[in-house]
Symmetry: C2
Subunit: 341 residues, 2 copies
């Protein structure tokens, strides 16, 4: 697919018209890239079949800049929704894909994004089955926004619910936090360390699947701390379960340069967005085995238990700090890093 | 739900943070409005079960202005996707709902839109089961964009496919065309007749269901001529089936004032967007019965047969004009009415 041969350099309003230009864009780029029997129906929608319950999750991606260290908005839009479906205890199968493009987007940028979507979809084992393209005038959007909605078959062994969480359950995280947010932030701020921090965007669905195969309903929750970071997700869980959560600061996996970037910018890594990170809350008797399995997967090499569920300080997250004190971890209130995903 | 009691007048970046402000917005407006067991899980996604094949369709709505004669972007986002699912021969059941809001949107406008979404969902018999809210800075969006993805159970009698279309099949349309596009256009242009033309946005899923109950696989296609209008949809079908389509200009249902508005603005109604209009292509022996059933439904009072499938001029749509000539109807090329849906 060569941008030069397409006959147009930029996306313009005609590409959102529903007429020949739309069809041209779809035929030359979208259908060509994602070709599969579902999409090739070229109907308003697609027909699929599931044998079990279905997990559905939707997200719009408005990240700025659209290309960043470690990824771009396209693969983020796939990985983000694939992971959300996986967090429901499901095996992601299909995605819908909807673009809102600002008039004037370079066609080679669009193609680069579309190819990343295809690569990320292949890596996650999902197919793009239906979509939509709208174009808005210059100054009424910001290059490109992408909505993906994901569909997955619930794993037969899964019983994921905050209702199952008990006092003593362990909280396990699969790797270094705050990388995505700090990659974007340092790029925006033009900091020197920008070249070394990369977004952690990736799919974790296969690792989740392996965990469910092995441990079934002894796994009580999966959750990915994206916007709002680890602090916000843990606070939400503490409120939902009406129990306490205790975490240990010195266990929280944080790379040195990410910690340094946070310090320079005055940000608390607990509130910084992640993309390839997830937590799982599991029965204490399987915690060691869960960690071992996760450490043997490249998406979980740095897995660690960061804390557990307690029957004190209900609805609150308390962190034992590295220097021996205790601190209540509140959820993020306003906006720390706008348009981080 | 009183905008004054919420504690904020506008949507701001903090409402897209994933932290307390996001949760506050969700709790006070979204969960309160759409409360149902799926959404109340407040997870990243929802779990549903279908007994049959599932039709899935996605659309982003970027219409401007967001409030227009006959509706607003909220109900449009529900009806548009409900109808796309219905066009697949399915019974719409669930929707996902994702907002991209421009910072500064008035909260009372947001609430009005959310309430319209709820009303439209209730009228269509669908539930909002999962969602997402993102906020972009002023000047990086345009008030509000909405993505809906719809899920429906394929009707057991349905066999909807262009492959089933035969020479002699009749093309039936459920009512007046070009109303949605001309309502928006005349409002944008500030024309005097603006007050009398209303968008035809509505759900047609129950009428589609009745047709499938009654006529099953003798119905070969449903399609809704939204962007690009009737001309673009018929042209696409002619290409897909590799047969000809003939339509009669004097049969095309067009209100006088809409025709007049089109003339003033130099627009061809065949290319103007519709929202509550659909065409169905059916076996000729059931055409009269289909029309009778449709005319007895308030969504099809003005149903008429506008033409048929022919074995001449393959891949083309030919219109017998009112004054006796013939005209080839080509699909829309560029952009006639940007941001019409």
């Amino acid at each position: 697919m060569d941008a030069k041969k397409l006959g147009f350099d930029t996306i313009n309003l005609g590409h959102g018209s529903g007429g020949i230009m739309t069809r041209d864009l779809l035929d030359k780029i979208i259908f060509k890239t994602f070709s599969n029997p579902y999409l090739n129906q070229k109907h308003d929608g697609s027909i699929v079949k599931f044998n079990n319950e279905i997990a559905i999750s939707t997200d719009s991606f408005v990240i700025s800049p659209i290309f960043f260290k470690g990824g771009n908005i396209g693969e983020l839009a796939v990985n983000g929704t694939v992971n959300d479906v996986a967090m429901c205890g499901a095996i992601p199968k299909y995605l819908s894909l909807a673009f809102i493009v600002e008039e004037g987007l370079q066609i080679d940028e669009f193609i680069k994004i579309v190819k990343s979507i295809k690569d990320a979809a292949d890596k996650s084992g999902v197919q793009i089955i239906t979509g939509d393209t709208k174009v808005v005038e210059r100054g009424k959007g910001d290059k490109i926004f992408i909505n993906t909605t994901g569909f997955g078959e619930v794993h037969p062994n899964a019983n994921i619910s905050t209702d199952n969480i008990k006092v003593g359950d362990k909280i396990i995280v699969n790797g270094f936090i705050a990388q995505h947010g700090m990659a974007i932030m340092s790029q925006r701020e033009g900091l020197e360390f920008e070249s070394t921090i990369e977004s952690d965007t990736t799919n974790v669905n296969y690792l989740v699947n392996d965990l469910l195969n092995e441990f079934g309903d002894k796994i009580h929750l999966f959750r990915d701390p994206t916007r709002g970071g680890l602090a916000s997700v843990l606070s939400e869980i503490a409120t939902d379960i009406n129990k306490g959560i205790v975490i240990n600061e010195n266990k929280i996996p944080l790379e040195k340069q990410v910690a340094a970037a946070c310090e320079i910018l005055g940000l608390d890594p607990l509130y910084v967005a992640n993309e390839g990170v997830f937590i799982t809350i599991v029965e204490s008797d399987i915690a060691d085995a869960v960690i071992e399995l996760m450490k043997n997967d490249k998406k979980g090499i740095n897995t660690v238990c960061i804390g557990e569920i307690t029957n004190v300080h209900h609805n609150k997250v308390v962190m034992n700090s590295s220097i021996g004190g205790k601190r209540i971890v509140t959820p993020l209130i306003g906006e720390q890093l706008p348009r981080i995903c």
